[in-house]
């Protein structure tokens, strides 16, 4: 749209009474979608999706989208997994995660292909796929960014894809060697997945460090950790761990320091949580420098698109590996789900998440339940 037209539209818009603006905005969006639909000869699809309407308010709303473009597929969701840290940060307006509302959350969903564009190869209608898709009943996605789900992997398990990739790239950078001592700081979903993926690398010991014992039961399930330490019970417990490798899976500056305290001299600390928040008075000298620590940043946004190395695989490689681990039964994730919610329950789900998540770890939306 040319600048002069945007200027005119903005001038007109500011003259409209605020109470009428949402309705007019909606009408405008609907009209432009219809124009686009005709111009591109793509049908309009009706769906439902979770929207953050304002701080700490989520709601399931109907919405319209265009059918798939040439290189896209239309996915009918079966199960979507909440990414607790990121979604909570946006919902609550935490530092580093300010977004404007309404905002459509979600990026880890499994479903079925119900329509495909003419240029799509390798994926057929009816195939089960998973990938970076929002919490929505229907969504279009570029076909080659999705993963085909092996037949023995359930939609629920496959919906862990994005979280799995996040953790795999961190674990890879940690380069855990057999016999090493590992500490995982934080026992939310990322922490619990870290427990299990680290376990596959045969360390001598995995210690979970968390504020309370609320998530101990899940952490100690088969494939999880050997020991569980509660910071509430003994804040100084971290100094005795002496881990060769520490995975920080919280996402706060304070947790970064806790992770450093867990490491032995010369140890490695992988910052896996998306650190949000600002802080002062961090004693980096005694926490990191004096101990000669190696601190490794590990965020999904830094994954290479091509030219993978042993320490940095591509998004596609990690995704395939994650599904393979699920397929072969070497990794289990379904028991990490503590709340299987209907999409209609999203308001209550996010209310709990905003308040800290209580004891929940994995929370999914099941899109196959028809109201």
């Amino acid at each position: 749209m040319p600048d002069w037209l945007i200027k005119i539209l903005l001038t007109v818009y500011t003259k409209i009474p605020p109470a009428l603006r949402p309705t007019l905005k909606e009408l405008f969006a609907k009209s432009t979608l219809r124009v686009e639909s005709m111009a591109k000869r793509r049908q309009i699809v009706q769906g439902r999706r979770v929207e953050f309407l304002d701080f700490e308010i989520a709601h399931l709303l109907p919405y319209e989208l265009l059918g798939p473009g040439p290189d896209e597929v239309l996915v009918e969701a079966e199960c979507s997994l909440i990414s607790p840290g990121t979604e909570r940060a946006v919902l609550c307006g935490l530092p580093g995660a300010r977004r404007s509302f309404p905002y459509v959350p979600g990026y880890s969903t499994a479903g079925k292909v119900v329509k495909k564009g003419g240029a799509v190869k390798g994926i057929e209608i009816g195939d089960r796929v998973t990938g970076r898709i929002k919490h929505a009943s229907h969504e279009t996605a570029v076909a080659n960014k999705l993963f085909k789900v092996p037949s023995s992997v359930t939609a629920e398990e496959a919906s862990f894809i994005e979280l799995g990739i996040i953790v795999l790239q961190g674990i890879r950078k940690a380069a855990i060697r057999p016999g090493e001592r590992v500490a995982i700081v934080g026992q939310g979903l990322i922490g619990q997945l870290s427990n299990r993926l680290a376990r596959l690398l045969t360390p001598a010991l995995i210690v979970a460090v968390a504020p309370s014992r609320n998530r101990e039961r899940l952490a100690m399930l088969p494939g999880g950790v050997d020991r569980y330490l509660s910071l509430q019970e003994d804040p100084s417990c971290v100094y005795d761990i002496g881990a060769d490798v520490v995975i920080e899976a919280v996402g706060t500056p304070q947790a970064n320091i806790t992770a450093m305290h867990c490491a032995r001299e010369g140890g490695r600390v992988v910052l896996l949580g998306s650190s949000r928040g600002l802080t002062r008075d961090l004693d980096m000298w005694s926490a990191a420098q004096k101990k000669n620590l190696t601190v490794i940043g590990a965020h999904i946004s830094d994954m290479p698109e091509k030219d993978a190395s042993p320490q940095r695989w591509t998004y596609e490689q990690e995704g395939k590996l994650f599904l393979e681990l699920l397929q072969t039964g070497r990794l289990k994730v379904a028991d990490l789900i503590t709340w299987r919610a209907k999409p209609e329950e999203c308001n209550a789900v996010y209310e709990v998440l905003a308040e800290g998540g209580r004891d929940h770890v994995g929370v999914t939306f099941n899109w196959t339940i028809k109201e």
Binding site: L53, D54, E56, I57, H59, L61, N347, A348, E351
Partner: protein, 352 residues
Amino acid sequence: MESLRIGIVGAGAIAQRNAKEAAASGAAKIAGVFDLNHKVARDMAKALSAPFFPSYESLLASSDVEAVLLSVPHYLHKSMTIEAASRGKHVLVEKPMANTLDEAREMIACCEKNGVQLTVNYSFRYLPKIQKARQLIQEGAVGDITGIQIIAHQFKDRGYWSGARSNSPDDWRASKEKCGGGFLIMNVCHVIDYLYFVTGLKGARVYSEYATLGSPADVEDIISVSVRLSNGGIGSISASSIMRGADQAEERIWGTKGTIILDGEGLSLYSTRPIDGKRPGKMFRYAKFPNVSWTAEWVKGFTASVRQGTKPDISDREGWDNLAFISAAYQSMEKGRPMEVIPFPEHGMSRA
């Protein structure tokens, strides 16, 4: 259910309204009318096709009278309740229950002793918008209540204080001794009661400032009260009967998940939750409510409690709680410090 045979005591404007609504409720039969102003009482009795009684004693002596509805100046509530209860009559008394907690204690003890029921006319609770607000709060529309605000401002002209619009002009409303107080005990008491009802909370501690700044009275015509609520929330009241040309009547109840605004026409709700199937995060207006006689509902409820031998919806406890709040507010100003609101004595009035 058999109608309750009620003797109407007092024939002022409110008494006339109460009697009419009680008769129309279908739950009561007007069994007699008494007022010191015999002419007004006779006219009222005639209009209601009920017998006129020349004295309170004669009305109480009538075996046809099961209960009395007292719409008389506040300072008479105690003595007239005690007289009625002593004669085995149930009592419906206008708000406030009494002028002081000592008076209320005596009234409750006497009714308990004589096995009669006592109710106070806080019938605004039966207004559909109030019932709706209570339902919304019970459904979690506002979450945990954190604040309550009452704003009540109007203008009472000089004639009000001398009873110019009354059938029997009298300046009792201007007297602290006879009325117990001013705008708070006379008018805002209703709002305090229905907010107790709507929220399920009570005032725990209050601090107030009040004054008489523009009325020919020795009771307050402006008051501000800060309240610590029973759940730890904070409330405030700003009220006066001397605001010219800009009446205000609005209550706000807010909590961790939303806000309810009550006003003259209805209520508005903002909730972060999808209440009543409505989209969260938006202000919604509830303005269409059925036309209900709150007084008739009050009488119906009381008749049912008498016939079934159960505690009335608005019982001595509700009357006490309201008066305890108001008394604490007045004492706070007089003593210059916050006052605890005295809870209803759970172990009976005679031992309180």
